[in-house]
Symmetry: C2
Subunit: 343 residues, 2 copies
């Protein structure tokens, strides 16, 4: 009998789709297949595309698909939308816009809409990247909506992360906070024919300069604790710093008019080249693996802990009710469950 | 000797600030104080304010502070910014804008910038809300940037959640996805003097109607699993549905010109009244407690699991390196750690 994993490895779109749906649903039956696929992955190049809603990420993704297709590469697109409760992803959205590629069998587009899932979005994204990788896709574009912690986590799963901004979105550059600066390998100022595009470029440049000027905080007694935490979260990229800094380029693009997209593709290639030559590729792969592992671990732990809690103390809702009425101490309960892990 | 908890209960700003800084840092020394404060909380009314960057949330928060102060209420503001890596919160931001209230000792403003913290943002937010509650503040405004899963989690910690949108932010209502619809108790169309404000109101109204039209998906073998997960995450509000629906009002506001803010304060009061009268308040308190407990639990579990992993298998980075090289299986590792909890 042919296993699901074998079908996926052979590029079977229906098998891969079904598997990804199970991953999105948090169905534990996906795990053995993922374990079987795992050693056969690691070939695809993953590009993250993030930025605020309305920044034109889908249009840009569309253009990138077209460019990579012209190079003869097979392209996967994973549209991650944590705010949509409908399976199948965004309501009005990504799929419709990318319909021009729907009949191209060198393009595989899927949406993830995991929610209410105990932080399962990062885990599901990591797993789906693996599936697309196993299918033999050359480039995987991971598009995320929003600028929250989840999006930062997901950006850590990419080799190259594009941060897309548009002129005049906020009142100032409030929209581009420092956490975003840190994850950006390439900045895209989209809709660059709008007023304020040059100002946006200048502001981004000063923020990048500001970043260099900021010194590391002095070490104190909490420093180790914080560093362990930051490392676990994969937000720690200092291992790349020694190997010759990558200066994130800032590119003006008009995705709707296909202007500047060639230059963008070139810069993605340049970043890839830098990762290889500087020896940072390995550090980046480790960071990706760490992020994906932590995402899997976090979800498994919480599911197991809640199962145990419900066995010993009653349904989660009853426990929460007792906490709300001040009859149970949430800190003591959490510590008692977590202590099982340190024994 | 006077404990930190006693100081906080007496409204000591310095003690509360120090405690909140420790909470933000993930310093475990905060826990005993939180446990001591816990039974003394539950009086404050918590209003969440969320929306995309540039929607004018800080200006609106400012106006709300002024309105509540005129009613003689003590106001706390917690500005949550997951994208800022600098302790002290946003670089150019919230604090500066709220400076007009800086010398008013009936107003207590703090930023949270927790990051790289294993999903610690939700936990830190819940804990800081408790501290502000214990200080005797009457209304706590929790302002979040972004529209990711973390922001949805944090919204669950409020009694009333405002979703702030502005006309012309995205190309269409792409910016307001259904997950946001579900958490909104009141919609604020800010900068309502801009073109497209009425269209935005109409579009929001149709999305709300669409929501009513969408039927629940049929139950299948995974339904129970998914429901447990959704319940754990606190995204399950069906307990409120029976008690007479709350229809989220859509308000046009110009925060910068203080227009429409009275009506907004009134609607927040109306929602509060509805929570009480419909009996939904208790369900909402349970949902809040559940979200806060899950946030505490998630962080504790991951910290303990990583400590165990590092004791048994080497530093997380080494383990991640082995995963990246295909020498270790992340699913098996996660399951082996999680299995300690189900024994």
């Amino acid at each position: 009998m042919v296993t699901t994993a074998e079908r996926v490895l052979a590029g079977d779109v229906r098998a891969a789709s079904r598997l990804m749906r199970n991953i999105d649903d948090g169905d534990p039956s996906a795990t053995p297949t993922l374990q079987e696929l795992f050693p056969r992955t690691g070939r695809a190049y993953v590009v993250g595309i993030t930025g605020s809603p309305g920044a034109g990420k889908s249009t840009l993704t569309n253009r990138l698909i077209a460019h990579y297709r012209r190079q003869g590469l097979k392209v996967g697109v994973l549209a991650v939308d944590p705010t949509s409760p409908f399976s199948g992803g965004a309501i009005l959205g990504d799929r419709i816009r990318m319909q021009e590629h729907a009949v191209d069998d060198g393009v595989f587009i899927r949406s993830l809409a995991t929610r209410g899932n105990l932080g399962g979005l990062s885990r599901a994204t990591g797993d789906c990247i693996r599936v697309m990788d196993a299918m033999g896709l050359d480039v995987i574009l991971v598009e995320t909506v929003g600028v929250g912690q989840d999006e930062i986590d997901i950006a850590q799963m990419a080799h190259t992360t594009l941060v897309v901004v548009v002129p005049g979105m906020g009142d100032d550059i409030q929209a581009i906070k420092a956490g975003i600066l840190e994850i950006a390998d390439v900045f895209v100022v989209n809709k660059a024919d709008r007023d304020g595009a040059d100002r946006m470029v200048r502001e981004l440049r000063s923020m990048l300069e500001l970043r260099h000027a900021i010194k590391a905080p002095p070490m104190d007694h909490d420093a180790h604790h914080r560093m362990v935490i930051a490392k676990a979260h994969g937000t720690h990229r200092e291992e790349e710093k020694g190997a010759g800094e990558w200066e994130p380029p800032i590119l003006k693009v008009i995705a709707s008019g296909d202007q500047g997209v060639d230059a963008l593709v070139e810069q993605i290639g340049a970043h890839r080249g830098w990762l290889e030559q500087s020896g940072s590729r390995q550090a980046r792969e480790t960071a990706r693996a760490r992020m994906q592992f932590v995402a899997i671990l976090r979800e498994r732990l919480l599911a197991s802990a809640i199962a145990r809690l419900e066995r010993e103390r009653g349904q989660l809702d009853e426990v929460a009710g007792r906490i709300a009425r001040g009859e149970a101490d949430p800190y003591a309960l959490a510590d008692s469950l977590a202590s099982q892990l340190t024994r």
